[in-house]
Subunit: 298 residues, 2 copies
C-alpha cells in the first residue's frame, strides 16, 4: 500500500441533493374550434440561491436539475473560483431554495462580483456579474486542426436532438441544449431559459473536472435557442469551440465568435444549416443542389 | 385668458434624443450546399443606463428605440416613480450609454431597489429589482364586460403581425411585440430580447400618460415570445388584460394570469390558437371542424 494519503489521489466532490419536482402540469384550454382540450405546459418555479446563507439571486427555472443549475451559475458568474470550494448544494423545493455551503466560507469576491450587473439579451435580461468582456482576451480555443466537425456529424446531431424524449415534445416552451463529443450525446438539459440550460451543462462539466468529460476542447455545444453574445461567451468559457443552434445569431454573438475563432452554425434542422464563421473547422460535404424550377410558358 | 398658469394644464414631457444605429448587418456565410451567401443578422449592442450619473445596468439591445427602452426599464423596474420625475434621456451610441437626468435628483429608493435581484426566465435570466410579487394583490384588471376580444379580431392581429415590415423578416433572431386597440396597431417594437421589447412598449405608454393611448384597459398586447411569469406580470402592471403570443406559456405565467383574471392566448398563428384562461373575455366564433381524413382500404 502506498503511504500517500488517499485524499491526495481522489477528488472530494461536493454533496448534491437530487431534488425532484414535476416538470409539466396539465391545463384545460380551448382551441380555435371552440373545443376544450387538455394540454401540458412546462413548469416554471423560483429557485433562490444562497451561498453560505447569503442570498445571491432568484432564478426562474423548469426545475429538472436544480443542483447542477446552481453549480453552473456559481461557475459561470465566477461566484466561486473552484469546484473544491463547494462543500454541498442542498435544494429544497418546499422553500424554493438552493443552499450552497462552501468549504472556506463565502467567496471573498462575492460582494464585488455582484456589484456590477449586465442585463443580457437572453431573449430577456440575463444577469452577468463581473466583467466578462475583460476576460475575453485570455480565452484560447483549440486549433482548427484539433477540433473539427464533418457535415454528416452535424446532420446526426440534428437527428439526435429531434429524437430525444423531452419536455419540449410534451409541453413546448422550453429550450433544450446538449453537450456532444463527436456524435455522442453526453448530456441533455432543458429549461425555461436557455441561459439556465447552458449553466446546467457548465455545472455538469465542472463536476467532471479534470476528466475528459469536463474538458471543452473536443466537445460540441448544441442549443435550440439563439446565439446571442452571452451564449457565445459562455460556450467559449467552457472551452467549447463548436456551437450549433437551431436558431439564428445576433451581431454581437457573431462578432465575438469570429474574434474567438469559434465555429458557429445556425438554422440547423434536418439537412439544412448556415455556417456563420470558423469555416476552417468544418469538413463540408455539400448536399447536391436542388434542381432549379423550370418555368415553361404555355 | 385664464389666470391659471399654463404649466398646470399641460404636462412637461421629458426630452428624449432620437439616437440612430444600424439595425442589421450583412455577413457572408456558407450553407448546406457549400455555397457562399450574404445574409442579414440583427444588431445587438450594449446600452449602459445611468440615472443622474449613477450606473444602473447594461442592457443588450437591438437599438431601435433606446430612449423608450430606457424609459420603460425605469418604469418597469420601479426605479423612477413618475414620468414627471424624468427630465431627459440622452442616448449616445458612440459611448453606448443612456444618460437619464431626473428632475428631483436620483430616486431615493434606487439603492434599495437594486439590492435584490430576481433572475427571470426570459429565455434567459432577466433582472427584476424589488419585490414584484408583493405588488400582485394590488393589481386590478378591467372586468370581462369592459374588455373583450372576438375570434375574428384575433385573426386580424395575427395577420397584422405577419405583414408588418420587420427586422425579423430581414434578419430573424429578434422578438417582436405590439400594442393594439381593437384591430389597430398602436406601436410595434422589436428587440433581441422580448423583455426589452415590452419595456419599450411600457416606455411608449408612459409617455402618453393620462391620454387614452397611455392606458392599458382597452389594449391588447401581442408578443412573438413565450409567456413566462415576467411577461404576464409586466402586461398586468401596464393594465393590459388580454395577451396573445405566437408561442406558448409556462406554468407560472399561466397561474399568474389565472390569478389576475387575464385572458391569455398562445400558439396564435394564421387561424389557430389556444386560449389558456380568461375565457369570459373571449367571443368565440369557432372555426368549422376539419373533416376527418377517410382511410379507404383498397
Amino acid at each position: 500500500m502506498s503511504s500517500q494519503p488517499r485524499a491526495a489521489l481522489t477528488r472530494l466532490l461536493p454533496y448534491l441533493t437530487q431534488a425532484q419536482a414535476p416538470l409539466t402540469r396539465e391545463v384545460e384550454v380551448r382551441d380555435e374550434f371552440g373545443q376544450r382540450r387538455t394540454i401540458h405546459i412546462p413548469a416554471e418555479r423560483p429557485l433562490t440561491l444562497f451561498v453560505d446563507k447569503r442570498e445571491v439571486v432568484t432564478l426562474m427555472t423548469l426545475g429538472a436539475s436544480p443542483e447542477l443549475l446552481a453549480l453552473g451559475y456559481l461557475r459561470n458568474q465566477r461566484l466561486v473560483e473552484s469546484l473544491d470550494d463547494v462543500d454541498s448544494i442542498t435544494v429544497d423545493w418546499d422553500v424554493e431554495a438552493a443552499a450552497v455551503k462552501t468549504r472556506r466560507g463565502a467567496s471573498p469576491g462575492i460582494g464585488a462580483r455582484t456589484a456590477r450587473r449586465i442585463v443580457t439579451t437572453g431573449c430577456g435580461q440575463g444577469t452577468m456579474f463581473g466583467n466578462w468582456m475583460d476576460e475575453l482576451d485570455a480565452l484560447r480555443l483549440p486549433s482548427a486542426a484539433a477540433a473539427r466537425i464533418h457535415q454528416a456529424t452535424l446532420h446526426t446531431l440534428n437527428d439526435a436532438m429531434r429524437q430525444t424524449d423531452s419536455v419540449h415534445r410534451r409541453a413546448g416552451s422550453v429550450h433544450g441544449c446538449a453537450l456532444f463529443r463527436g456524435s455522442e450525446m453526453l448530456k441533455f438539459v432543458e429549461d425555461v431559459g436557455r441561459h439556465n440550460a447552458i449553466d446546467t451543462i457548465a455545472g455538469w462539466m465542472w463536476l467532471h473536472g479534470d476528466s475528459p468529460l469536463g474538458q471543452g476542447a473536443d466537445k460540441i455545444f448544441y442549443t435550440t435557442g439563439r446565439l446571442t453574445s452571452e451564449m457565445v461567451m459562455k460556450s467559449a468559457q467552457l472551452g467549447v469551440p463548436i456551437v450549433i443552434s437551431r436558431n439564428g445569431v445576433t451581431q454581437m454573438g457573431y462578432e465575438l465568435a469570429c474574434k474567438l475563432g469559434m465555429t458557429l452554425f445556425g438554422r440547423a434542422s434536418q439537412r439544412h444549416f448556415i455556417c456563420y464563421c470558423g469555416f476552417d473547422r468544418f469538413d463540408a460535404d455539400p448536399e447536391p443542389e436542388r434542381s432549379p424550377v423550370r418555368v415553361v410558358s404555355t
